[in-house]
């Protein structure tokens, strides 16, 4: 258990070694491959030890009692300071006798404080919840039943795919870069599932998206790889946008982002209404939050309307497709829903939307898979479709079944992708051929690949007793009996799901038939390998002349993972046999293991009884799948001319499927172009209108300066000049006096002096006159 933090650490070390040192120190391919694989193997061993350790921890009655007490306290906290009469559903008495298994006992290992964000308030949810909180995000790992299950299969499948990749990528330029990225991906994926809070999950979430970008763009010289990687990242970012808002909403309601606190606290909240009334921040805050979270899942797990990136992502190397785009990363959405199921269960509107989206995606992707001609594209649409099933399961409340399907799917789909990789590797001179029409009759040349893929075929088609049967059937059965959404929805969804299961059987069998049966079509060698970079492959596969080339089986390092994965594709289902089928004689291990994680909003788990109906449903879908498999066999092996005729006859339907329901045209042609036009328009606005305003102001300033300078010259300055002119005019008159006659000057001087001396004169004269007057009076 204490090894939890080491589980993601090893791949990180592998990434650092291969990423920083391998190229500089010129590691050999063997060294690089060994380092990468060893790190994952160590990680797997750690996972096993940690989970075993955790198992005894979780079973311990003292632990359980402790956690029950914690949970009760958290529920109390979520209810707010003083909740008047509503009785707290005290977890302890109800199923609190220690020893019951349905007690969540998350083991949290904190490494360091990552983001100390400062003070905060709980601002959403019931008004009484408004209280101070602290945004502190710990770098912490949480081991519990769900993450335990995930780390086990992620490291295990991851290890096998790493081993396969050593053979598959042999001779590629950038071998070290590839394995560095692959290890980085494992680190991110393990962070995603082990993260103890939403933000840690988000780190992994973005991280796997980033690695996906890097690995899809591994052949970055190819235009479509560059396009696909960018598309994947941007579309995923739309999802991340939702996830980001969702997790902030969670904080606003609960005041924490730690799973082990949020999930018990959610139990204090009541189930929100189903319907439009839940789209409000007052009555449906959980609905809005879970919808935002679900947007994240839609992006990451390639659901409608964001599924378009996943088929394009097949531009990456095949092991990448197997690991990232089938087994692990794309199922992160399901993981998140399962992780937050206490929130989702309280938002039935979200559940309904999720079920509808999942079901529609399953159906649409399956129909597209019918006509695709690229082996990896078929598998990609198959993945999209299977992910749809998983969300259908989660949406109808069968979270366990959804997660179980994730696990079985990881085995058989990884196997199918690796098998396809083996076919691509050995099926053409270039080693990069992916068109189904260039394969044929390969079962004679690659028997191991053929046999192992056959196992997975049965698994994905849902044939008893292969793995897919148990997981897919449980989803379908639970859809029919859903208690979350109500009867009519359940029946409708079941019908579509059932139909889709048949379509799945058909297109998967088609893929197998076109690859392994029929004539040796590969001999009709194509003149072009336009979409593959042959140069890279030249040094690996010497150019066989078309006459001498024969498809060949892959080396042991690639065959071994195929065999092991096929083994689990056959047997993994036995871990989760629905108890309705056997009346509990075979325990549903997955169900019991995950039970502590699942909260169904107050509805207690009911004891399961033997249900004959379960057998009827199971056998019906099994029979339906077999029938469709036979139909495909008939179309593609017995009478190969039928498909073309059918395509001709139902041209519209064929085009709908072949052109992916016109989804790419809609998005690339209209949406993306529209956005580009918008950008250009805004840029023109910015350059002309907004900046025009600024330049206009400047123009105004300059113009007014011209006007002002005119005024200055012709009014202000003119006035000055006018004054000068006036002066000159005056001077002209006065000049007349300057005639050079000394007498005149003298006269002026005397007059002037007289004027100047007026005060003195005045005094003098007044004295003089006074004196004269006196004289006169005296006389």
């Amino acid at each position: 258990m204490n090894l939890t933090a080491y589980i993601p650490l090893f791949p990180l070390v592998g990434f650092l070694i291969n990423g920083l040192a391998a190229k500089r120190l010129r590691f050999s391919e063997t060294a690089i491959g060994s380092i990468a694989c060893t790190m994952i193997a160590l990680s797997f061993v750690c996972s096993v030890v940690a989970v075993l350790d955790y198992y005894s921890f979780a079973k311990n009655p003292t632990t359980q009692a402790l956690f029950l007490k914690k949970e009760a306290a958290l529920i109390e906290r979520a209810r707010g300071p003083k909740d008047d009469v509503t009785e707290v559903r005290s977890a302890a008495p109800e199923h609190g006798h220690a020893g019951t298994e349905a007690v969540a006992t998350p083991y949290v290992q904190t490494v360091f404080t990552w983001i100390p964000g400062g003070g905060a308030l709980r601002s959403l949810g019931p008004a009484k919840n408004k209280e101070n909180a602290e945004l502190t995000i710990e770098w912490a790992y949480q081991l519990d039943q769900l993450s335990g299950l995930y780390v086990l299969f992620v490291t295990f499948v991851g290890f096998l795919i790493h081993v396969f990749a050593v053979g598959y990528m042999h001779g590629e330029a950038g071998f070290a870069r590839f394995f560095a990225y692959l290890n980085l991906f494992m680190f991110m994926m393990l962070t995603l599932v082990l993260g103890a809070n939403f933000v840690m999950m988000f780190v992994g979430w973005e991280g796997v998206g980033l690695c996906s970008f890097l690995l899809i763009g591994y052949y970055f010289q190819k235009k479509e790889a560059g396009d696909a990687s960018k598309k994947a990242f941007v579309v995923n970012r739309i999802g991340d946008f939702g996830l980001m808002l969702g997790m902030m909403g969670v904080f606003a309601v609960f005041g924490t982002l730690n799973f082990h606190e949020v999930m018990p606290m959610a139990k204090a909240l009541s189930v929100e209404p189903l319907g439009l009334s839940s789209f409000s921040l007052t009555t449906g805050v959980l609905t809005l939050i879970t919808l935002a979270l679900f947007v994240g899942a839609v992006g990451k797990s390639a659901q409608i309307p964001l599924f378009i990136w996943l088929p394009d992502a097949m531009a990456g190397p095949t092991p990448v497709s197997a690991l990232i785009h089938a087994a692990t990363m794309v199922t992160a959405g399901v993981y998140m829903v399962a992780r937050c199921n206490p929130l989702f269960h309280r938002a039935p509107t979200t559940m309904l939307i999720m079920a509808l989206v999942g079901c529609a995606t399953a159906f649409v992707a399956a129909t597209i898979g019918l006509t695709q001609t690229d082996i990896k594209k078929v598998l990609a649409y198959s993945t999209v479709s299977q992910l749809g099933f998983m969300f259908l399961g989660c949406g109808v409340g069968a979270v366990t079944a959804g997660v179980f399907h994730v696990v079985t799917h990881a085995f058989f789909k990884a196997q199918l992708f690796l098998g396809a990789g083996s076919v691509i590797h050995g099926g053409s001179p270039s080693g990069h051929e992916q068109e189904l029409s260039r394969f044929g009759n390969f079962r004679a040349y690659m028997p191991t690949t053929y046999k192992t893929m056959l196992m997975s075929l049965f698994a994905i088609c849902g044939i008893v007793p292969f793995a897919g049967f148990f997981s897919k059937d449980e989803i379908l059965a639970q859809t029919l009996h859903t208690s979350v959404l109500g009867g009519a929805w359940g029946t409708g969804l079941y019908a579509v799901g059932f139909l889709t299961a048949g379509v799945t059987a058909f297109y998967m069998t088609r893929l197998m038939c076109l690859t392994f049966f029929g004539s040796d079509r590969w001999k009709e060698a194509p003149a072009h390998h336009s979409h593959e970079n042959e140069d890279d492959a030249d040094d690996v596969h010497q150019h066989h002349g078309h006459g001498t080339f024969h498809p060949h089986e892959s080396p042991l390092v690639m065959r071994l993972p195929l065999i092991i994965l096929a083994f689990f594709a056959v047997t993994a289902g036995f871990f989760g046999v629905a108890e309705e089928l056997t009346g509990g004689a075979v325990p549903n291990l997955i169900h019991h293991w995950l039970a502590p994680m699942i909260d169904v909003a107050g509805k207690p788990h009911e004891a399961v009884h033997f249900e004959p109906m379960a057998w009827v449903l199971g056998l019906a879908s099994c029979g339906w799948a077999l029938a469709m498999m036979y139909a495909a066999w008939h179309c593609y092996v017995t009478k190969p001319e039928v498909p073309a005729a059918l395509a001709e006859r139902f041209q519209a339907l064929y085009q709908l499927s072949f052109r992916k329901w016109y989804w790419d045209e809609l998005l690339d042609g209209h949406l993306v172009e529209g956005i580009k036009r918008l950008n250009q328009g805004l840029w023109d606005t910015d350059a002309h209108l907004v900046d025009g305003g600024v330049n206009g102001t400047a123009w105004l300033a300059r113009t007014s300066s011209v006007v002002m300078s005119w005024i200055d010259r012709w009014v202000v300055d003119a006035l000055v000049n006018f004054m000068a002119w006036l002066t000159r005019l005056g001077s002209l008159t006065i000049r007349q006096m300057q005639n050079g006659t000394a007498q005149t000057y003298l006269l002026v001087m005397v007059l002037g002096l007289a004027a100047l001396l007026y005060p003195i004169e005045a005094q003098f004269f007044s004295g003089f006159f006074e004196w004269v007057q006196q004289k006169m009076t005296n006389r």
Partner: protein, 567 residues
């Protein structure tokens, strides 16, 4: 090595040259370098000039780092306070001091200075000496803005800073350099004139509060300074000057920035400040327009792309890294604490919030349409700074913390992006995106650094951008859910334009023969890129040390604006 810190609260009658405070050293050392360069180095010795300047910038980092070493983490508010008489007639003083927020920005400025000098080595070929003199002068101006604790002093630095930048763009810029330089200068000047009006009004209005409401002002001072006796003396000094306004000293009021904060945020029993709301709004607007131009916020942003495109690399780095931050810093330092009622006013919030959101969405969309790499990065700045503004408008600790972090992060990431664009421009003398393609084949190290910077810019976790974005947006959601929705669209749009840029420049095969012989990063380029990359990872993985500086000032601002936030 350095003289002991000056005692504060005692007012020396004159400026004692022999006893220079550490913060003064940080601020004025670049100027000393500029003078030395001007008078003692021959302008023909270009090699010596650039080595000297780079070395001097590095030397200037020493006191800046000493600030960190001598920092007392449990003291609230300003540290390294200096307080001298300057212009007693008007009450303006030479007062310096930094709190955690300013310290972080001072450090960023000091670091970017070194990088700016280092990245100019090859780029600048004419009038080298003047160039580096201006770069050093600019540095003093910027550091002074963050270190000033006196509004008048702040204003002087704020204006002085424009001049070297004007010449940097106008002399060493691209083709339309004169247009860009004049636009930059005039635009900023218009803003600062409005700000000056607001400053004067505040200067005359504040003393009345000090006289009429001593008790409430004392509370407000206590909230501001906490346990910091040095700061208490500084603020009290300012309050006393205000109280004795019109007295024998002759000053009509105080310019002490924090005394003005205390006076502005003092509240009566009704919970409102003492300056009437309509005056608060006018003054808020005066400051806000000045800073909005600086940030820049839509629709005052159009000087930015022109200035960036025409400026030499170093100019762009400093412009994006530091000058824009002065706008957001100004909001936090002046607008919010001095006019809290105006800041909380619904009209203010909706106007600024809407403009910030327009900045985010519009800036990102316009960035997508750009054909010039540098212009694209410039418009991305509009978007990022929009988010920075939106975060701080949340007016809660998460929002403001996020905003300050975002300032720092934007300085690091966008600074690095401009440096990277400069690297390729020096090789190809073009920045047109269409000229490139497939560069990852030719210059793998450059491609890697560019990629990491791209990720940092679009906010991928474990790199710096994410922390600021997440914390800030979380605060925004607490304040207003719809804002968070719009703010978060930047997550998608940012990824779209940056990755598209990356794809067009680096992916595919080399189609343009002129790109075939490109050389990868040189040692000098590594030297100025690596520190930023290290910072990106550091802040992304372990932001706690940075947060530690920011959190205190942030909480003070929140308490000043909404006293009831922390119950």
């Amino acid at each position: 090595m350095f003289p002991p810190l000056l005692a504060t609260g005692i007012e020396p009658a004159h400026f004692d040259i022999g006893n220079i405070g550490l913060l003064s050293l940080v601020v004025w050392l670049p100027l000393v370098g500029a003078l030395a360069l001007m008078f003692f180095i021959n302008k023909e010795k270009t090699d010596l000039i650039r080595k000297f300047t780079t070395g001097w910038f590095a030397l200037c980092m020493v006191p800046a780092i000493l600030l960190v070493i001598k920092w007392k983490p449990d003291v609230q508010g300003l540290q390294f306070i200096e307080n001298y008489e300057w212009i007693p007639m008007i009450g303006a003083k030479y007062q310096l001091g930094v709190d955690g927020m300013a310290l972080v920005l001072v450090l960023l400025t000091a670091l970017l200075g070194v990088l700016a000098a280092l990245c100019s080595w090859e780029y600048i070929t004419t009038r080298t000496k003047e160039y580096y003199v201006f770069l050093l002068l600019l540095q003093t101006g910027m550091l002074g803005v963050f270190a000033a604790a006196d509004l008048f002093l702040f204003y002087v630095f704020f204006e002085v800073m424009l001049v070297p930048m004007y010449f940097l763009i106008g002399i060493w810029g691209g083709e339309r350099r004169l247009y860009a330089a004049i636009k930059f200068f005039l635009y900023t000047l218009v803003g600062s004139v409005l700000m000056l009006l607001a400053i004067l009004k505040l200067y005359f209005a504040a003393p009345g509060v000090a006289v009429a409401h001593p008790k409430e002002v004392a509370d407000s001072v206590a909230l501001l300074v906490g346990n910091n006796s040095g700061m208490l003396a500084l603020v009290q000094d300012g309050i006393d000057v205000a109280r004795n306004a019109g007295g024998p000293s002759g000053a009509a009021g105080t310019f002490n920035l924090f005394a003005l904060q205390a006076l502005g945020s003092a509240r009566g029993a009704d919970g409102l400040g003492f300056i009437p709301l309509n005056w608060q709004l006018w003054m808020f607007a005066g400051f806000a327009i000045g800073f909005m131009i600086k940030v820049p916020m839509f629709p005052f942003h159009t000087w930015l792309p022109d200035a960036h495109v025409e400026a030499p690399t170093a100019g762009s780095v400093v412009l994006a890294g530091v000058l824009l931050k002065i706008g957001t810093y100004g909001f936090l330092r002046f607008n919010f604490p001095m006019f809290p009622d105006a800041a909380k006013h619904p009209v203010t919030l909706s106007v600024l919030g809407t403009l910030a959101i327009i900045g985010i969405v519009y800036g990102s969309l316009v960035a997508m349409a750009q054909k010039d790499m540098k212009k694209l990065v410039a418009y991305s700045s509009v978007g990022h700074m929009g988010l920075c503004m939106l975060s701080m408008l949340a007016l809660n600790p998460n929002g403001i913390n996020g905003s300050v972090l975002q300032m720092l992060n934007h300085g690091i990431s966008t600074g690095a992006l401009f440096l990277l664009v400069g690297v390729i421009y020096e090789r190809r003398h073009t920045r047109q995106i269409s000229e490139f393609g497939g560069l990852a084949n030719v210059v793998p190290a450059y491609a890697t650094i560019f990629f990491i910077t791209t990720l940092s810019s679009i906010g991928v976790p474990l790199l710096n951008g994410f922390i600021g974005e997440f914390v800030g947006l979380r605060g925004v959601l607490e304040a207003k859910v719809s804002w968070a929705f719009w703010g978060a669209t930047g997550i998608i749009l940012g990824a779209a334009y940056m990755l598209w840029l990356y794809q067009r420049v680096f992916f595919g095969t080399v189609t343009n023969p002129r790109n075939e012989g490109l050389s990868d990063l040189t040692a000098r380029e590594w030297a100025y890129l690596l520190p930023l990359v290290v910072l990106m990872f550091w802040i992304g993985i372990y932001p706690k040390p940075v947060m530690k500086y920011i959190d205190g000032p942030t909480n003070t601002i929140v308490k000043q604006v909404s006293p009831g936030y922390f119950k």
